[in-house]
């Protein structure tokens, strides 16, 4: 078997940017054309949020928990996007016949992944904002913003780490073919628990919460809750600065991991003939 030799691609920054924008386009523009997102991505998550709010109010939990739940409900949209819109995406692109065209084009696959991530992030942010807005108004959530810029920075850093993780997973899922479905399903519910979508991760105990910190949403959301809600710091797991440092490490690790795995996946797929849809 002749091993494909790694040759540096003659990319230009312009082509990289063009590719990122072009691949983000279907997600930012195209995804808004499917009006069903209002029902599936906003209304259904809002029902889960409502259920937790009613339980917390019934048992007399601190009012800060209501805000935690609303934020968690909004952030779940990002996790769903990572699982179904990022991790499984390269597999679907392959089955649709797009992956071969992406690889055959003189662009960078990292640019394709970045475009997918940015597009997904923008489209999902819109859904998350609607959940926050509706949840805050419906349940009268109280905010005590420490600093808008600190919040924005923490959110963006969380997104970089989270979508870096999604980019890394997409290469792994591609090599797993149809098993990716099962893996995505398997990753859904446990992450709901360990990310503390509906409660502070501090409640999990130190070691479990520390283990859960490998998921960018766990630490990112914990930091954001500390920056936004009046009693946030009381329920925080670690100091915000430590959590930001963890997010930086995760971002670097996941993005480098994504780059390495993508190159490895491309080599393996070219060797084994796995780049084209199953029927061809």
């Amino acid at each position: 078997m002749k091993e494909p030799v790694e040759v540096s691609r003659p990319y230009s920054a312009k082509l990289f940017l063009q590719t990122v924008i072009a691949r983000a386009y279907p997600r930012v523009i195209g995804a808004q054309r499917e009006r069903s997102w209002m029902f599936f991505d906003v209304f259904l998550p809002f029902l889960s949020v409502s259920a937790y709010v009613f339980v917390y109010r019934a048992i007399g939990a601190p009012e800060t928990y209501i805000g935690f739940v609303v934020m968690g409900g909004a952030m779940i949209a990002f996790w769903m996007n990572i699982l179904w819109g990022m991790s499984s995406q390269l597999y679907w692109e392959k089955e649709q016949g797009n992956l071969a065209l992406y690889i055959m084009a003189p662009n960078s696959m990292m640019a394709i992944l970045l475009g997918m991530a940015l597009g997904g992030m923008v489209a999902t942010t819109l859904r998350a904002l609607v959940i926050i807005l509706v949840g805050s108004l419906a349940f009268n959530v109280q905010f005590a913003l420490v600093s808008f810029w600190a919040l924005l920075g923490t959110f963006l850093l969380t997104m970089v780490a989270l979508y870096g993780m999604g980019m890394m997973f997409s290469s792994i899922f591609l090599m797993l073919n149809r098993e990716a479905w099962h893996l995505a399903n398997l990753a859904q519910e446990p992450i709901f628990l360990f990310s503390g979508f509906y409660f502070p991760i501090k409640s999990l105990g130190f070691w479990i919460a520390a283990g859960a910190s490998i998921i960018p949403l766990s630490v990112g959301m914990d930091a954001m809750r500390q920056l936004v809600f009046p009693d946030g710091p009381t329920f925080g797991f670690l100091d915000v600065r430590i959590e930001l440092a963890i997010l930086v490490i995760l971002s670097i690790g996941f993005i480098l991991g994504a780059r390495y795995l993508l190159a490895a996946m491309e080599r393996l797929a070219i060797r084994e003939g796995r780049l084209t849809e199953s029927r061809r």
């Binding site: 590719t19 279907p26 649709q96 016949g97 065209l101 690889i103 780049l275 084209t276």
Partner: protein, 337 residues
Amino acid sequence: MPDDHAIQTQALNRIYKIRGGKKNEPKELIALRDVHIEVPRGELFGLLGPNGAGKTTLIKILTTLLAPSSGRALVAGFDVTTQAYEIRPRINMVSGGESSGYGLLTVRENLWMFSQFYGIPSKEANRRIKELLRVVGLDDRMNTKSSELSTGLRQKMNIVRGFMTNPEVLFLDEPTLGLDVGAARDVRGFIQNWVKQQSGHTILLTTHHMIEADELCDRVAIINQGRILACDSPSSLKRMLQREAIFRLRVDSINSAEPNNFEKIGGVRHFTYRPGEGHATLEFILEEEDVLTEVVNQLASHNIHLQSLEKREPSLEDVFIQLVGRSMEEVEREGTS
């Protein structure tokens, strides 16, 4: 190798390891065996063979999507294994029945997206998209979501995607697959015109439609079971059969066992039987015309009424039969059974 060739392969082999052997052990499937082809720049080169012959495998190797097991392949003068990133800006590919792009985007948006992956400035991309859509008769659907297009219109969009980057070498893998007669004719017409207008640009077209290969290609390679069996211009290939006589006979319906007798007649090189409504068509490739007398006698002895008899010119189908011993239809049927 001289660089006046768009495509060159030397002793190219590809072996797939697939599961399904004894005790589910991996077994080897030879998709390409010792393939040598040379395609000069500016040629419309056809690869003709049944499904599973190795056409798509060869295209995948030439488009840098699959590594050869051994041998060498050059596209636009660059090695597919070591210089893939030099080849990619120079090529494009369109496959039949592909569903690339995104259904939520319009035709124009999908094409624009793919143009960006090749670094074409947006303004220029939009100009080319508009012009090519007009040429293929899809300009009135420019703002239609691609999910709303019929198979034929979708394939026209794919054709525009492939030609839009003005590639030095374009790979068309069964581009008319699944299209109705009208749409297939349009696509063939477009391909033919493009090659005429773009001097020095090369097309490698795979097909299992004889007429398509005959009508479009400057030269055709006939491939079966991963081997190139012959390679020449369609007319030269057909001249291989000049000594043979080819007859098509239409007869009353016959007993399905009877065709076996015709194979046994001395001088019958190949015989095909196609049952129809109230009749049957028999096609004979005979070593010489005189053998027809014996064929007609055999029909008479079996009380088979001859409705019509036609002598016809050899086609690429006949060339395939001559080389493989069976028709392409028979080979495909065996492959699926």
